[in-house]
Subunit: 253 residues, 2 copies
């Protein structure tokens, strides 16, 4: 963590504003300036350091905590990684609750990632039918070494086909809809999260934080994950099988 | 929740972009258009409905989960309330982890609020010395019926003086720094959150979710709070005195 967000922000917000308006020439100049001046969030998304890249997909109607719970945990490791917000287009993307996040990169312009995260939310009901997004997520998932979904983000991953034959879980209240998006997936009803090879899938909303800490433990060690959880004063549920919300929603397998 | 974020987004993002560039005349036209066309997040921040207004303060270097954990919980009640992101200026504001949120309203243009939320993060180290922000938060806190801080957001609230004589808590790792910002506050070392009159203050980062559910219970009833927690598959710590992170950081009172 550092206290220098302000230096980065000027370049970042001006660039986002200009890009959105399509003032490409001015934006390119600002981008170069911002990267030189700060080496901050956006500058660091480009080449030039050895940090991991954690990419978070967003779309209109994403669930706030699906995105920012995991990014809180990964974001505590800014000495080791950089976060990249990815979407079909640059600009702003609004959550189902209203607040909007700035997109760092369009899918077509995504850097090589170490971790790809796919959130859920009511917007997934539309996005499972968005062929461009499904193809882009599939391409990113196939080439990224660690891939994780939160909540109904598993429905999007399932639609890409990359989970076929794998064990996976998803939101317990939307279980019937989400699992119908991937009939060849081995869906697990009672699980806080499921790890199968390079794929992690978590249950509803809050479960993304527990899963992210498990993924951080895999990548950086258990001591680091514990330090991140304690720093966030978060009571980490470390047991992937502890899931009271399955029975609460009539699921028990 | 609904699936219509996309309708709102076009007006929202164009307005944010234009406002940031200071193209006020065009922005005003777009704002009116967006409000008419959508009645969505931004339109609803204006008069014309009976929904509660929940205002979240942001500043460069805010902590992601301090902001979006509580907004996840309040955001599940969009049939009853609207979220308004507030900052010193409109445009984008970057978190300490990198991702940036769009500001709905500058402090000077804030609507009447029912709930004011003040997050923490490394940016607080700078903002406690920002007289304009402290004065704006003080004015909002004095006229808002329910006021809450998350993590080191309590340091900002304390600096305004509104917590003088009240019981309050804050982040346990940054306890010495944060409490020094309010020598007349009755700081509580061991607490997940503290309620004193209209003021709620929570411990570090994740504690904001537990406190928000308690505030939702106060505003809308315990059944609603339980429904929100279960919908988020969140294991709500309902006990304000259950705080393992005090002892972990050498605090025990």
């Amino acid at each position: 963590m550092n206290d220098m967000g302000g230096m980065d922000l000027n370049g970042r917000s001006r660039r986002a504003a200009l890009l959105h308006l399509g003032l490409a020439a001015s934006a390119v100049a600002l981008t170069a300036g911002a990267a030189r001046a700060t080496g901050g969030a956006n500058g660091a998304n480009d080449a030039g350091d050895d940090l991991m890249r954690v990419g978070m997909v967003v779309f209109d109607g994403f669930q706030l905590l699906d995105v920012f719970g995991p990014l809180e945990m990964f974001g505590a490791l800014r000495d080791r990684l950089r976060i990249v917000i990815l979407a079909q287009n640059t600009g702003l993307v609004a959550s189902s609750a209203g607040p909007a996040v700035a997109v760092d990169r369009a899918f077509a312009d995504a850097p090589d990632l170490d971790v790809l995260l796919v959130p859920g939310g009511m917007g997934t009901r539309r996005e499972v039918g968005n062929a461009a997004l499904i193809e882009a997520v599939k391409a990113l998932a196939l080439k990224t070494p660690h891939v994780a979904s939160i909540c109904t983000g598993a429905a999007i991953l399932a639609r890409t086909g990359v989970l076929d034959g794998a064990r996976a879980t998803t939101n317990k209240r939307a279980f019937a809809w989400a699992t119908a998006q991937g009939p060849k997936v081995d869906w697990v009803e009672r699980a806080r999260w499921v790890e199968d090879g390079k794929y992690f899938t978590s249950s509803g909303i809050s479960a993304g934080m527990d899963m992210s800490l498990a993924l951080i433990a895999k990548l950086f060690g258990g001591d680091t994950a514990t330090r991140v959880a304690n720093g966030a004063e978060y009571r980490w549920n470390r047991d992937p099988d502890e899931d009271p919300f399955a029975a609460l929603n009539g699921l028990a397998r």
